[in-house]
Amino acid sequence: MMTGGSRPQKLNYSLERWMQDPSPPLQSPTPSRVSMQNGPISRVRGSPRPRLLLQGQRRSGKSSISSVVFHKMPPTETLFLESTTRIQKEPVNSFMDFQVWDFPGQIDYNDGTFDLEAIFSDTGALIYVIDAQDEYLEALTRLHQTIITIQRFNPAINIEVFIHKVDGLSDDFKLDTQRDIVQRTTDELADLGYDGVHINYHLTSIYDHSIFEAFSKVIQKLLPELGTLENLLNGLVSNCRIEKAFLFDVLSKIYVATDSSPVDVQSYEICSDYIDVVLDMTEIYGYDRGEAEVTTVEENKSSTGSTDDWSLPDQSSVMKLQNGMVLFLREINKFLALICIMRKESFEKRGLIDYNVQVFQQALERVFELHR
């Protein structure tokens, strides 16, 4: 399904000049997948890929998050992660090329040695991680400082606060913690005159899917064509009687878009697990241009006949669940997969669904071309 390769690193060097250590950017532990050099989905034209800054106090879980989300590390293994000592830049070559900068918690970038403008100006989103199980007052102080700094350089940045490690808290306490953090932050920023700053808060944990969901929302906000994607999905869903459709980034298991009906946790989890299954099967049984089939219904779809080179022969997989639901996975392109949950009755019109998905795929193609 995917072919490995090394990512050209020239883009990263432009960022090097601000960094204290001149070491080459670290490659992610798993071989990063190549995307087309001028891939259809590179967000920012002619400039480095959008950046996600991961910040937070020491030991708040930043590296764990990036390991779990982008490197498929089992959550239990994150216990043994070393403390990050320098800014770790991880290019994520996926549907959307972006870069995650893992800031060591102890770095104080306000001390004048950093080119803050350069750091923040190109950044799409700041993810500030707060350890909810620890005392967070100091973290909040840092957060407020960071927000104020950011407001000076790049007010358009999305500020996302991950209230992390909430798996250890009771439901009530989770919300209490969130309320407390929100209240303190709002008050503090209001006192400092930054009333209009929009901050998103997410309760996350690496031990369940909340971190993926939170990351999905963060990524989705960086996606200008999200509304279009969503409307396309809505059309597909309503025309095929699909219960829920996700457009997944298969590498990170982040969903890039979904239809506008509410996301419920179980659907997301099963889709996410389904992707794991399909990827694993592909790795074992897929050949070069993987066309592996899994599960009960086997299908080999020929190429859609699209002339575009990134629209490759698609693969699909169907899994019928015991409760009368059907999971339907369809490859959209290298990095995207469409997963639909539908009832068995709806799946009877298979031809219609295939056709609609093909139309959807072509539409998607056009959307991305437009933005190119």
Binding site: L175, Q178, R179, N200, N231, N234, G235, D259, P262, D264
Partner: protein, 1018 residues
């Protein structure tokens, strides 16, 4: 049908608009109803409501999944919308459902995409239906023009999730969309009049406040709910209130009819009620929380006026029911409807007793609340639990009467506790249509709610008389479990006896006295044996040095008096022929009380004897006497109250099963009655009644003298049988010739009639002797006398009577047994006697463990553990059980003493493990997380006198609180850090150095806490 509709039309008046609808709807093609309600709902429709009986539940198959629905202002039509459907249905009060209009039919289908929400207008716009579509459109249909698509409002770029008409004007429409914007539309204008951004995620629900229609509430995907006022205009303004309500998206929000509270339901499966009223109350906690099973799709207040406290919910998935909750009872639904077979996508209250719902199973259903399921009835309403003191508690909830077929005229709801006054008021309000609130006049159902639901239930606490904790506590506190310095075993026994006597545990007291005697004999005999063996040792070779050494040591330790202790070797050798005979033994017996106790020491393994020799016989005998006791009311009462695990009570239970419940009530008065009749019986008498013992001794000795031979024989065979556990001495020396029937031994020898009988008798003898002693010769002017006269004596006199009746037979038998020749004598012979300490203790422990008196067993094991050998495993069980029992009754000091005294390893190890205490800062209450305090503390021993503030920043030890960056409070007197022991008052938790506190309380004679907290510590 037609008649009914015209009737309704007439009654509604002849507004032009309604007439138009009527005309149109009446002409619409109707499909036959496919209602599948319970039989009986299809009764002939009459306009007379009151004559209608039975459920109005009805359903209609729409053939396609339905997403949402909305009711017309006239309450008889409903519009249903889904991905492929937009229809108006007509529902009669009887539950007949017919289709009136398909709004899709007359409109170009290509303009319409899936509807996510539909709303029927109100007031001026009651002929308007608006739908929200997933492509961001809002479609407005005009019923006056035959349901034609009037206009399409398209400003949202992404899916519109919810729309709502303003209940005040009807021309105002609000929409909430996936793009996070809410737009206010005036249907008379082309563009939206206002765009509001909640700075949050997608908007999942918007709803106007019905009582104050300038306010609306919005629910967002990121878990927040917001309160807005749309009247203010402009774009600069922001929400009035924002609450992080749920973990995960909020799907539904609904204003309470009082206009002050909202209920929100979210993906986290909870429905929360929030104060959304005026005033900037920073109360960000929900007023009420209802926990449901699955993600809440919709949550709607039951329309019962201002006093409503019930919320109907449906789940997004996994649950196909509509559940109505009472906020007083947040864990069990009050009503449930399970007509649907798939997830419910939308529902509304038609009136307070009717719910209309639509579902993905393509059905539209009318639910009748009066015929709803009551989930509470499916639950078990009773529970039973044991208390540590062997009583148990049973709780039984009162079930409402079964929801039988009630007459519809007599509408009542059993567990509604809404005050009639406020209800009347609210209904008046509704009728007169005065929506605005008058503050202070009406009381909301939520405000007036004082607490959670308290179910009516019966609680029965049954104290089983098998066990009462008082004696256990008293004895645990006063018994001697380990010999302290200078205390002899005899003194311990006497003391324990006195204690048990005081508490009314007469049998236990007797046991201790007997033990006192027997251990005296035992020690005497052992000394004599030592002496004799010493003499023999001079002749014989000293083979078994080790044994003799131990024995000698024991003898030394034991005597401590001027009694001669021998130093000889070859203690209990197989060669040792017992030489002592009965006359020799007799004088030994008398001076028992003076016999010194054994110091705790090593257990002599060679002294092991056949266990359980006599046990069953003793227990069976007591059982029989107890059986006799039942006849005697007085004695029974005593035993009910004062001898906790009395067997007679067991028997009583088996005889009269109802007894426990009754006696539960009786117990307290009974005890008080007894205590009042003999006030001396209270627990004050810790006085030693050892003086009684000398009187006992001759009797026992005399009785034992004629029993001896027989028992010698009894034990003989046993000795052989259990020779494995014995030293070779016993097998080889004296038991060879015992061949009589008494050799039969069974663990439960009560099955052997003969054995049982005889042993009963001999026990009677014992009792008789004691009784004589107690009744006639009691020299103590103590309270025991009174007790004896009142109750105990009765018991024993009764026993005496029984015993004397049998007396002659027994003596005959005894004579027979006495014929058996014995060869052993002295200590070796002593071992075979039933009152040999080992035998006797085996008997005792068997007996008491059979009765479950672990306290006695454990104490015996502790006191005599080094004189005799107990089975290691059983002893472990006893001690462990006793310690657990003590812990249960919070008798920690006795428990610690037991743990300290015992030799059982795994119990001892409890006391050897580390104890961790986690501290929290006295200042900010945060837990003190810093580790390594133990390591750093010794590193800075000289800092004792240094003030905490000086060291606060630099020193980060175990006493440094990281959250408030200071050292924890030290001594309250000198305000310095306490290292080492820190004493505190358990009342106010203030404390400090021992010296400082001593100075404060003793030196300065202060009574209050030095911290100034006002607590009277002393």
């Amino acid at each position: 049908m037609d008649a009914f509709s015209t009737q309704q039309a007439l009654s509604r008046g002849t507004s032009k608009a309604t007439a138009a609808i009527q005309r149109f709807i009446g002409g619409g093609t109707s499909r036959p109803s496919t209602s599948a309600g319970p039989p009986g709902h299809l009764t002939p429709s009459t306009s007379n409501l009151s004559s209608f009986h039975g459920s109005r539940t009805a359903s209609y198959d729409l053939r396609v999944p339905v997403k949402s629905l909305s009711v017309s202002p006239d309450q008889d039509l409903v519009v249903v919308a889904g991905k492929e459907v937009l229809k108006i249905l007509r529902v009669t009060p009887q539950g007949e459902i017919t289709e009136r209009l398909d709004l899709r039919a007359g409109n170009a289908s290509n303009k319409i995409v899936a509807n996510s929400d539909v709303k029927w207008g109100c007031n001026f716009s009651k002929d308007v239906i608006a739908t929200a579509n997933t492509n961001g459109n809002i479609c407005v249909y005009d019923l006056n023009r035959g349901g034609k698509l009037d206009r399409v409002l398209h400003e949202h770029q992404r899916s519109v999730h919810k729309i709502a008409f303003n209940p005040g004007s009807g021309k105002i429409l609000i929409s909430g969309s996936q793009d996070g914007l809410m737009k206010i539309w005036d249907l008379r204008q082309k563009k939206s009049t206002m765009t509001l951004w909640g700075k949050s995620d997608a908007v999942r629900d918007v709803q106007f406040n019905a009582t104050n229609a300038v306010h609306f509430a919005a629910a967002f995907d990121n878990g927040t709910i917001q309160k807005w006022e749309w009247r203010m205009g402009g774009t600069a303004h922001t929400y009035l209130k924002k609450i992080s309500a749920h973990n995960g998206p909020v799907f539904s929000i609904d204003w309470h009819p009082d206009g002050k509270y909202v209920a929100s339901g979210g993906r986290d499966g909870t429905v929360k009620v929030w104060d959304f009223g005026e005033g900037d109350s920073q109360n960000k906690r929900p007023a009420h929380t209802i926990t449901t099973m699955a993600a809440v799709g919709r949550a709607t207040w039951r329309p019962r006026g201002i006093s409503t406290r019930e919320i109907a919910t449906c789940a997004m998935n996994q649950d196909n029911r509509v559940t109505v909750w009472d906020i007083k009872r947040p864990f069990v639904g009050k009503y449930a409807f399970d007509e649907h077979t798939k997830e419910i996508s939308g529902f509304l209250w038609k009136d307070e007793n009717t719910i209309w719902s639509c579902s993905k199973d393509q059905m539209f259903v009318q639910h009748d609340l009066l015929y709803a399921l009551h989930p509470i009835n499916a639950l078990n309403h009773s529970a039973v639990a044991w208390a540590p003191n062997n009583s148990f508690i049973a709780v039984m909830g009162q079930r409402p009467p079964p929801p039988a077929k009630r007459d519809r005229n007599v509408r009542f709801e059993m567990d509604d506790e809404i005050m009639t006054g406020s209800r009347k008021k609210s209904s008046v309000t509704l009728v007169s249509g005065k929506v605005p609130l008058k503050a202070g006049v009406q009381q909301s159902g939520i405000d007036s709610l004082v607490g959670k639901y308290i179910p009516k239930q019966a609680v029965v606490e049954v104290g089983l008389p098998m066990f009462s904790s008082e004696p256990l506590k008293y004895m645990a506190n006063n018994w001697i479990t380990s010999l302290s310095d200078g205390m002899t075993l005899s003194e311990a026994c006497q003391r324990n006896s006195a204690v048990s006597w005081d508490i009314g545990q007469f049998r236990t007291a007797q046991t201790w006295r007997m033990l006192d005697l027997i251990q005296g004999w035992e020690i005497e005999a052992r000394e004599q044996e030592e002496e004799r063996l010493n003499k023999e040792a001079e002749m014989s070779s000293s083979k078994i040095h080790a044994d003799s050494g131990i024995f000698a040591k024991r003898a030394l330790g034991v005597s401590g008096t001027d009694r001669k202790s021998s130093n000889g070797s070859a203690g209990a050798t197989p060669l040792a022929k017992p030489v002592a005979d009965t006359p020799q033994l007799q004088p030994v017996l008398t001076p028992t009380p003076k016999a010194p106790a054994n110091p705790p020491g090593n257990i002599d393994e060679s002294l092991s004897l056949p266990p359980k020799a006599f046990g069953t016989s003793l227990s069976s005998s007591t059982a029989s006497t107890d059986g006799g006791e039942i006849l005697n009311l007085a004695s029974r009462r005593v035993s009910v109250v004062e001898s906790p695990p009395a067997i007679d009570e067991d028997k009583e239970l088996s005889l009269k099963p109802l007894e426990p419940q009754e006696s539960d009530d009786k117990i307290t008065p009974l005890r008080s009655e007894i205590f009042s009749s003999s006030p001396e019986t209270t627990f004050n008498g810790a006085a030693d009644k050892a003086g009684g013992n000398p009187f006992d001794v001759p009797d026992v000795a005399a009785s034992s003298s004629f029993d001896k031979d027989r028992d010698r024989a009894t034990l003989a065979f046993r000795g052989r049988q259990y020779s494995i556990g014995l030293t070779s001495e016993q097998t080889s020396s004296s038991y060879d010739d015992s061949t009589n029937s008494f050799g039969y031994r069974a663990r439960l020898s009560s099955s052997h009639p003969f054995h049982k009988e005889t042993s009963d008798d001999e026990d009677e003898d014992d009792h008789r002797h004691h009784t004589h002693t107690n009744a006639h010769n009691q020299p103590n002017p103590l309270n025991a006398t009174a007790r004896n006269n009142s109750s105990h004596n009765l018991k024993h006199q009764h026993q005496l009577g029984v015993a004397e009746a049998l007396g002659r037979e027994i003596q005959d038998m005894v004579k027979d047994y006495g014929n058996i020749k014995l060869k052993g004598s002295g200590y070796g012979r002593m071992k075979d006697l039933p009152w040999n300490l080992q035998n006797f203790l085996t008997v005792l422990t068997d007996y008491y463990s059979d009765r479950g008196e672990v306290q006695m067993c454990a104490t015996l094991a502790l006191l005599f553990g080094d004189l005799v050998v107990f089975d290691e495993r059983r002893m472990g069980d006893w001690i462990e059980g006793y310690v657990e029992l003590l812990h249960r009754f919070k008798l920690y000091v006795p428990a610690a003493e037991v743990i300290k005294a015992t030799t059982v390893e795994h119990v001892r190890s409890q006391a050897l493990t580390n104890t961790f205490i986690h501290l929290s800062c006295g200042n900010c209450n945060a837990p003190m997380m810093s580790v390594g305090g133990g390591a750093t503390a010794p590193a800075a021993p000289s800092t004792e006198g240094e003030p905490a503030t000086v060291r606060g920043a630099s020193y980060k030890g175990s006493l440094y609180c990281e959250s408030c960056s200071r050292m924890a409070d030290g001594c309250m007197v000198c305000h310095q850090i306490v290292r080492g022991r820190w004493s505190m008052c358990q009342g106010c938790c203030h404390g400090g150095h021992d010296d400082c506190l001593r100075d404060w309380y003793l030196g300065s004679k202060m009574k209050q806490c030095p911290s100034g907290c006002g607590h009277d510590c002393l």
